[in-house]
Symmetry: D2
Subunit: 100 residues, 4 copies
């Protein structure tokens, strides 16, 4: 919650859960570095990279859900144009995610 | 290089480069956690997640390239069956990557 | 517009544009079959498959944008629960897209 | 098989299977157009697009597997440089696929 009390970003209520997920992802990334240091088999490293990628995209889809649920709907209460701006941002983000 | 001197994983020659890329990815992941702590705008966090995902997939494609270039070709010198095993592993890894 | 006059799916206004894009995608898919019939080089076929995949995902992101812009916002005018249902559907669809 | 009898593309042995998969994909693409014509629910169309995308990527991974199994290994029998060219093509194709 910002000090001004204005409607904040959608994910704030789940902040701890997101931080826990990100901290697990950081750990997985460190694990991949360690596998490289230890000359682990490339295919096993690739399996770990797929797992981290999936975890990151899970976080992203969660943030998008929160964004639509809060930022978009809050903007829609102000006006159609305000909602349109937030939806365009969401769609652009979805586009980047789908292509990444 | 393993102590037995056997042909090692393809990426070993580029180990430092991979470790540098992974350390940048770890830094980016920490940056995302920090953005969440600081209540940054969800869409900006999503942009960062797309960037980390792309960076991770860049590492993965590099490892795959090294895998084919070394593990698969080395196995092919031993025999068709040995190559087939390595190629199946590579294809399964590609499949996981494409879907992640 | 359905005969009952109820609020219709978001994409209906752009129906012709979507049909034109899908018809181009169908043509590209037929082109890939033709390349296989004619023993074209595998890598060139893969380039075409990437192009069709990107085109399909462009259609999907467009439909999602329309879905949020219309179905979600219309539902939000009825009530929070109605909006929540539509948003959950959108998020599940995003999840499937990101992983496909 | 080309008339010159030269080693042909890897997928040629499975040509019928690939054509069958592509013809199913063409049918699915036509089905999506029909859903749009009939004003079907956007989320159901998105589900179909995810299914087609997955089917296309299945074909792509199959072609890549055949490419490595045949084109790359055949080139490796000729020489390291020849193999390197084919592997670079494969890696570029994987890169496009992962990002599409």
């Amino acid at each position: 919650m910002t000090s001004t009390g204005e409607s904040t970003h959608g994910y704030v209520a789940d902040k701890d859960a997101y931080l826990k997920r990100m901290s697990r992802i950081e750990g997985q990334a460190r694990g991949i570095s360690k596998m490289i240091v230890e000359d682990k088999y490339c295919i096993d490293i690739l399996t770990q990279i797929s797992a981290v990628t999936r975890a990151l995209q899970g976080v992203a889809v969660g943030l998008l859900d929160d964004h639509i649920r809060h930022c978009v709907l809050d903007a829609a209460k102000i006006g159609d144009e305000e909602a349109a701006v937030k939806i365009k941002e969401a769609t652009d983000a979805i586009n980047r995610l789908v292509r990444s």
